[in-house]
Amino acid sequence: MAHASDPQAATSAAAAPDGPLTTADGKPLAWSLARSQARARRRAFFLVLPLLAFILITFVVPIGQMLQRSFYNDGFSANMPEISQWFAENPRGTEPNDAAWTALANDLLASAEERSIGVVGTRINYDVPGTRSLFTSTGRKVRRGIEPPYREALLEMDEDWADPQLWGAMRDASRPVTSNFYLAAVDRTRAEDGSIEQVEPRQRIYVMLFMRTFWLSALITFLTFALGFPIAHLLATLPMRKSNLLMILVLLPFWTSLLVRTTSWMVLLQQQGVINDILVWMGVIGGSQRLQMIYNQAGTIIAMTHILLPFMILPLYSVMRTINPSYVRAARSLGATSWTAFRRIYFPQTLPGLGAGALLVFILAVGYYITPALVGGASGQLISNLIAQHMTDTLNWSMAAALAALLLGSVLILYWLYDRLVGVDNLKLG
């Protein structure tokens, strides 16, 4: 809006001497416009409200709750209040005194009677392996009766109670908010004095698996690009009748269940499988030299490349369809070789589709679970297989949440990088 002190505005407002423009019923135009726009926005908001509520209830809240477990675990602090209090009042390095032992004994008794001692033991066992049964067995003994002095009484039940590492772990667990699960997720642990150190070499696994997950995902993304680009180009340039047929060949596997496709790869690739049988029959390899193409990294790469291929082809295809062939013809007529015309004219125009395809494939690959579990063997496992293991086998949900949060975080960083380098508004999904 023009300002009243502006000389030009003064002239244009001369027709309406009492200030800003108004509507027929005398209300200021700007106000009226804002009101009607707000109404339209409100209507639009009410239309998307069901979806918003759906996403909030079924997606954001549960995921948030799950992620919360990665740094919040009150298994110890909620069930052992007295000793947690003692830890809060006495700094690290204080020798446990009589008050500490009394608090511990009281908490153990209360927790054992409430049947929460297992939760407490499980929490400490994450940090000090082998201590869960210390809690549950002491809990059973304490229920039968315990007399002061508590230090001697507890040590008589199990001398492990004197272990300083155990006390350090209890101190860590005495506050519900903890970074221990994130530390464990990057192969680190807390020493007795509270400093952070790497775990023993033979216990290290997660950093390596994260690296492998990203490396394999990048490789698979590149393979889908190398295989998918020519197909997408062919689809986009063939006459409709032929390209429709080809399109069905791309879409049919896309619509087939993931499990079915993975299992088909098992039938094809295993040592007694179709491909090995054909190679032996043709005499390329001997009967005893059958190739190991599955239950290892190769299996993961082959099956995942195939399964993710349509996610690269479809965005590429939709972009290539819109590229005007006369640009390349013009370049050729101006003297460019076919390679130069491709490199400088055609390829840059496919970038939005390539970006979308690469982002889709990479992010899907990073979180892939079923295929590596079935055909990956030992060397083709990805980080999501370990997350699943913590969810269903060891039931350590805090650890699973920490690993998942790290995975989510790194994907978001990659997305941000992509936005900085390529620009997300260049993305074209169809």
Partner: protein, 358 residues
């Protein structure tokens, strides 16, 4: 399944009758679930009029934990492994069960004396004993057939790939047995650094020839495809393949790993009374023996053993296929839930790290 749940609750709500009760049982699916439907659910429905809804899960302890944590329990009875039963009981997720409430054996022996050791826990009652055993394809070996756990690790005498489960729980003990550790000293060995190293060293000798499986159906499939010549797997699954499908497999009854499956009731289950009725009914002598007609898993009651007869085909004697056959128990390793509650996390990490290293 959920639809049936919603539908049946809705129907009950329409006032069919107040007695139209139901109970939701979560089990493992497959042949095992079928055996439970035949031996427990059908007679239970007939006797009490309470409808049984069977729900399958990969491992029922996972939904059990999730439902209790979310304060939204929909299952009434869960079929879980003994280590999970003890763990969840210690965490206060399960209803305590007094053994005195369980029905006695037909001859009047109280339940406490009738169930085998470990079958009665504070919050759970076992229904079956099952074994993880080695099976081989008889067509793969000319001359001598493998007969011991050590043969499983002998790639020269018995060539071919091996199928093993991708978990430390059912692999480390086998390596130790094959390396000459007696069955009753396995957990003492695994408590020590040297023992664990020894197990991994032994596994190293076959590492390159192992196909790792995760689901119970896989070892049977791997053997049937000829992808492996020997595999360890659940004895009931192998039995099914051998007897029901006529596959040329043979089981090596050496170094088997014995596990219990138990029924437990979560706190806050929607039909606690019907759940308890079901649990008592299913773990009675006759029903446990009846289940053995459909699957080769040993009943958890001593009094049931005498009633175990023929397979449902009417000709196969079940006795020699039962993991609880006294002859096989001499070399069996029994699951130690306390040990695994303590060391599962640590050994799993080391196992994963060992697997990933080349």
């Amino acid at each position: 399944m959920k639809t049936t749940l919603i539908l049946s609750t809705a129907l009950a709500g329409f006032g069919l009758s107040a007695a139209a009760q139901e109970v939701n049982v979560v089990s493992w699916g497959g042949a095992y679930e079928r055996s439970q439907v035949e031996a427990y659910n059908k007679p239970f429905e007939e006797k009490t009029g309470i409808k049984v809804n069977m729900i399958a899960a990969d491992n029922p302890s996972t939904p059990l934990k999730a439902q209790v944590e979310a304060n939204n329990v929909t299952g009434d009875v869960f079929d879980i492994e003994v280590s999970d039963a003890i763990r969840l009981c210690d965490e206060g997720a399960l209803v305590e069960i007094d053994p005195a409430d369980l029905p006695p054996a037909p001859d009047g022996t109280p339940a406490v004396e009738d169930f085998i050791d470990g079958a009665l826990q504070d919050c759970a009652v076992a229904n079956i004993y099952w074994g993880t055993v080695i099976a081989y394809d008889t067509t793969k070996f000319e001359g001598d057939a493998p007969s011991t756990a050590a043969d499983f690790f002998d790639l020269e005498a018995f060539p071919g790939q091996r199928g093993l489960p991708k978990t430390p729980k059912r692999t480390l003990y086998l390596a130790l047995i094959a390396d000459g550790v007696p069955a009753d000293e396995i957990y003492d060995a695994l408590e020590t650094e040297e023992g664990v190293n020894r197990a991994f060293d032994k596994l190293d000798t076959i590492k390159d020839s192992v196909v790792w499986w995760e689901a119970g159906a896989q070892p049977v499939q791997l053997l049937a495809d000829g992808e492996v010549s020997m595999a360890t797997g659940y004895n009931g699954r192998f039995f099914d393949a051998m007897v029901a499908e006529g596959k040329p497999f043979e089981i090596i009854w050496d170094g088997q790993y014995m596990d219990l499956d138990m029924f437990a009731i979560p706190k806050g289950s929607p039909n606690p009374e019907a759940a308890m009725d079901y649990l008592k009914f299913a773990t009675s002598t006759e029903q446990l023996a009846e289940q053995a007609k459909y699957i080769a898993y040993g009943p958890a009651r001593k009094s049931s053993a005498a009633l175990v007869g023929l397979y449902q085909d009417g000709e196969t004697e079940m006795g020699p296929h039962m993991p609880t056959n006294p002859e096989y128990l001499e070399t069996a390793v029994f699951d130690d839930p306390e040990f695994w509650a303590d060391h599962d996390a640590e050994l799993t990490e080391r196992f994963n790290s060992w697997l990933a290293g080349s």
